[in-house]
């Protein structure tokens, strides 16, 4: 027995992570033992006593199924994607109170996607099509703040959401700038400034060069819009 075989119960219960599930499915394709077990379990429903379906169930279900076209759900997300970046907070200038609200809404929408993904992951969603990763960033020396990032990778797009708290207040034109790094090469991936509660958040979407990022970092930049980091890294994590 292969150690992969141990995963069969979790597989049946849909409790494997996307990666584990993909690995198990590869295993399943080559392990006749596990396939037979899955198929034996697949006979269990036939133990059920026949139950008469409720009147009108078929038309209700089919109407609901065909009503809920996937495009409807995807639309708001696509509109967001058209924008290359969504500046959460305009650096300098007035920091109006609705900026965090937008961030919250965007985050909710993304969490919705993530939730949908997890739901889908319950049944055989291949990890290659969409992947959701939640990351806890580690503060650098003498930095009191903390941040979480969510990275959602779909075919042809990458979305990054960052939420930070207990941030140190900035001075002048400074911003907290998010970077994605690939083999040490950074690209900017959104920026934010803390609000009165020392919290900040950012949403960033990219449609090119979406693969292979290995690190996410946040620096305290002297100004917004830098193409390469000048400030010190305050939070970071491997991806």
């Amino acid at each position: 027995m292969n150690t992969n075989c141990d995963h069969v119960v979790d597989y049946l219960n849909g409790t494997l992570t996307a990666e584990e599930k993909q690995a198990f499915e590869q295993h399943l394709a080559t392990c006749a033992d596990c396939r037979e077990l899955v198929d034996a379990v697949g006979e269990l429903p036939y133990l059920a006593e026949p139950a008469e379906p409720p009147v009108g169930m078929k038309s209700r279900i089919l109407a609901n199924v065909f009503e809920e076209e996937p495009q409807k759900q995807a639309e708001p997300e696509r509109q967001v994607k058209k924008e290359k970046t969504v500046p959460m907070v305009k650096p300098k200038a007035r920091r109006s109170s609705w900026a965090p609200l937008i961030a919250a809404v965007l985050l909710l929408s993304l969490l919705g996607n993530a939730y949908a993904f997890f739901k889908l992951a319950d049944e055989q969603q291949p990890a290659t099509e969409s992947a959701f990763q939640s990351i806890e960033l580690q503060p650098g020396e003498a930095f009191g703040g903390s941040a979480k990032a969510a990275i959602i990778q779909e075919e042809g797009s990458l979305e990054v959401v960052v939420q930070a708290e207990q941030l140190e207040q900035l001075q002048g034109d400074e911003v907290y700038q998010i970077w994605l790094l690939k083999e040490g090469q950074p690209v900017p991936a959104g920026a934010f400034t803390p609000d009165a509660d020392q919290q900040g958040s950012a949403y960033y979407s990219m449609t090119e060069n979406t693969e292979g990022w290995d690190t996410i970092a946040i620096t305290r930049e002297p100004e917004a819009g830098n193409e390469t980091p000048e400030g010190e890294i305050v939070l970071s994590s491997e991806i």
Binding site: L28, D39, G42, P50, P53, I61, L120, E123, Q124
Partner: protein
């Protein structure tokens, strides 16, 4: 034959052919509803779970292929997970172990002959060859959708061994079902 035509229907569903989804619905409505009702013991919940299944089928992309076993195994697993989601959301108070029905319900004289009677006879025979503890494991895990923690508490077995006991019960089922099917094949020959 049955298998490949299920697979063909599934492929057509992926191409957004409504008629194919309806055909698949007609083919499995009765067994799926009966199965989901056995799990949820609630007709509304069973319908809700069934709707989830078909919404997922309609929206899903490229999820099933034959390397994952039979199409029905995959369909039933997905259905079971939908039901478990709903059962857990309900947070019904847990019932004492002796009030949870047996895996195989006692036969009644007027029992309607199921459309799937042949499969039912087979799996019933296979299940009857399991120990009562193994039958209980399958009932609690598979049909009641209980978490390992709940099973551990209910049956008073260490949490760490729940998974291996479930696995053992399922492995045994695989063997007994295999035996039943072989005997059936021999009977057919003579």
């Amino acid at each position: 034959m049955e298998k490949s035509s299920d697979f063909m229907l599934y492929t057509r569903i992926q191409q957004k052919e409504k008629a194919a989804l309806e055909q698949l619905y007609d083919r499995y409505e009765k067994i799926l509803f009966s199965f989901l009702y056995k799990m949820t013991e609630d007709r509304d919940l069973a319908e809700e779970a069934l709707q989830e299944v078909f919404i997922k089928l309609w929206r899903g992309k490229g999820e099933y292929d034959e390397s994952k076993g039979k199409f029905t195994s995959w369909l039933f697993t997905m259905s079971r997970n939908s039901a478990i989601d709903l059962i857990r959301k309900q947070k019904k108070p847990s019932v004492p172990l002796d009030e949870i029905g047996d895996l195989v319900s006692p036969e009644t004289a007027v029992e309607e002959l199921a459309e799937w009677q042949e499969q039912k006879d087979q799996i019933q025979e296979a299940v009857s060859e399991l120990s009562s503890e193994q039958q209980k494991m399958i009932q609690l895990f598979y049909f009641k959708g209980m978490t390992h923690e709940t099973i551990s508490t209910m049956c008073d077995i260490p949490l760490g061994t729940v998974k291996s006991r479930i696995r053992l019960a399922l492995s045994k089922l695989k063997k007994t079902l295999h035996g039943v099917q072989e005997r059936g094949a021999i009977d057919d020959e003579y």
